[in-house]
Assembly symmetry: C2
Homo-oligomer: 328 residues x 2
């Protein structure tokens, strides 16, 4: 277990019981009589990741004194939606299939990945309709729509270096922070009411979600593959202009800017991220983006500091720090 793992484990200690219940529900939901399907969900379940979003539902519920018997189910639904987005993220476009044959999932093809993601979404929505209040179904369907819009916007803004910080952050917010925000909001106000606390926790989730994405974007350009645990440089390959790159681009001279655009757009280039590191002050861009992430985490932390003291509140505050300090 790495230091990071141990820290996360400690963070979620106040909700360990409910987290176990969430995992049980998740396992039951992923089970399916069809062998073809359960074979795949077994595979997906192994990549369960940090389960931060599910944990946020429970911590937010606990810290606001709003935890109910249904919170573990809501946490499981949020995790299923997250899993569905991950599975769909793995679908490659035509160009990528040709360029990255080695990375294409060898066990199942694109079409099955699409169906599996759809299955996970459907399971998540079906489970949400069993809850006593419709608040979760509503909030999560709406959140899913916002996530898709954010992803589509991002894909149409590839290679766009004229992007404002605001627009860049709005996209990162929509595609990533949305699920964090709704997780925290539902934790704090499900099954209903308590609008002010719900809204405050929504903002908390929004800020740490955006901070999380910015850190992700930074790790993608300057992280070490062995530490991050996934291939770095993918955003550059995909033509995504993220906040650290945008900041590095703005600080660069004209010649360097032209070179950056060339690295992003010229077909057939290998190791684009290495070329990018050589072409501009990427570390400077990362530093400035990380400062923004820290500012967001700070603001998030101050929101929950107003809640009554509890171990769950302390965990939320520490989580805000964890999100910007993590190295993976």
């Amino acid at each position: 277990m790495s230091t990071s793992d141990a820290r996360l484990e400690r963070l979620v200690a106040p909700i360990a019981g409910d987290l176990g219940r969430m995992r049980d529900i998740l396992a039951r939901q992923l089970a399916e009589r069809s062998h073809a399907v359960s074979d795949m969900t077994d595979h997906v379940a192994r990549f369960r990741g940090k389960q931060l979003r599910g944990a946020l539902v429970l911590l937010s519920g606990d810290a606001t004194g709003n935890i109910t018997d249904e919170h573990p189910a809501i946490a499981a639904i949020v995790e299923m939606i997250h899993l569905a987005t991950l599975v769909h993220d793995d679908v490659l476009d035509g160009a990528e299939v040709r360029r990255r044959v080695a990375c294409v999932n060898q066990r199942w093809d694109n079409q099955v990945a699409v169906l599996l993601g759809d299955f996970l979404y459907a399971r998540a929505f079906a489970l949400s309709t069993d809850l006593s209040s419709r608040l979760a179904s509503r909030a999560l369907a709406e959140a899913t729509r916002r996530i898709c819009v954010g992803e589509i916007e991002q894909s149409t803004l590839r290679y766009d270096f004229e992007l404002s910080d605001e627009r860049c952050e709005a996209i990162a917010s929509a595609k990533t922070a949305t699920l964090y925000a709704v997780a925290c909001e539902l934790g704090a106000r499900y099954p209903g009411g308590r609008d002010d606390v719900g809204q405050e926790l929504w903002h908390f989730g929004q800020e740490i979600g955006l901070a999380f994405q910015i850190v992700d974007d930074c790790l993608d350009v300057v992280g070490e593959e062995a530490v991050v645990g996934k291939s770095v440089g993918q955003d550059v390959e995909d033509g995504k202009v993220t906040l650290p790159v945008l900041h590095a681009y703005r600080r660069a001279g004209r010649a360097a800017q032209a070179r950056i655009r060339e690295i992003y757009t010229q077909p057939g280039l290998a190791h684009r991220v290495q070329l990018l590191r050589a072409a501009c002050d990427l570390a400077g861009g990362v530093e400035s983006a990380m400062a923004r992430a820290a500012e967001l985490a700070e603001s998030a932390s101050s929101r929950v500091a107003r809640l009554p003291e509890s171990s769950a509140r302390a965990a939320l505050e520490e989580l805000a720090g964890y999100v910007v300090e993590r190295r993976w």
Copy 2:
């Protein structure tokens, strides 16, 4: 307007007003502030197709005396789910991308097609949570899950000529008939209760949906591209063993069976469906599969014949016939 179009137009006449309302709702739901998204939904809206599933919600409601103000919204939700499945059907796997470059959607790539489908699902579920009863959300989330399981099962049973009729039909039912069945069921019993009529209409939808799929499978192997309006032979390309092919295979001698398997599996073959036509008595297989479709349509028709006489009931009966007589 073709004869088929005119016939369909006449069929839906009893519910013309509600069908217009359904189309208005659909148009509003597909609108999205994001230009990137609305550009795509505009494109998708142009392929609105026959809107049979939406019409079935309304005709079933009308024929059972159960129509409510919310029926047009339910019909729109069903159509959105159908659109989402169509968009996701267009996602190609790696092999296909390489084999069928010319067919890959030139305007948007796989990833965007996945996101657009997800957006449509999310919109559909979000709209369903605005309805007064949760019956539609529940039934449609569950139906979506069944559709995905059916599609995944089908993809794992490619190239399998030992398939039983029962299994083959179970897959076609899950992937296609499910949405017809739930459309008819919701039409008949939304917002709740009336279980017996709801169940009868569920079976009606199930039977015409399966008949529709069998006819589709037949058109894929013996239809004329110009008439069907889409490329034929796709199932053979995809390795899908459909009912008409299965029946033709069973009637074939050993040598012909080996040839059929070869046509399905040998890499790099062109015009597989033409080869298949030459290799076995495909017309015989189609005839036998069509007889099964007619039997299903007949059973479906007899179910609604028990409802009180009305123009909507007459339309449902005729629709059962239309489904097996259509040539596109």
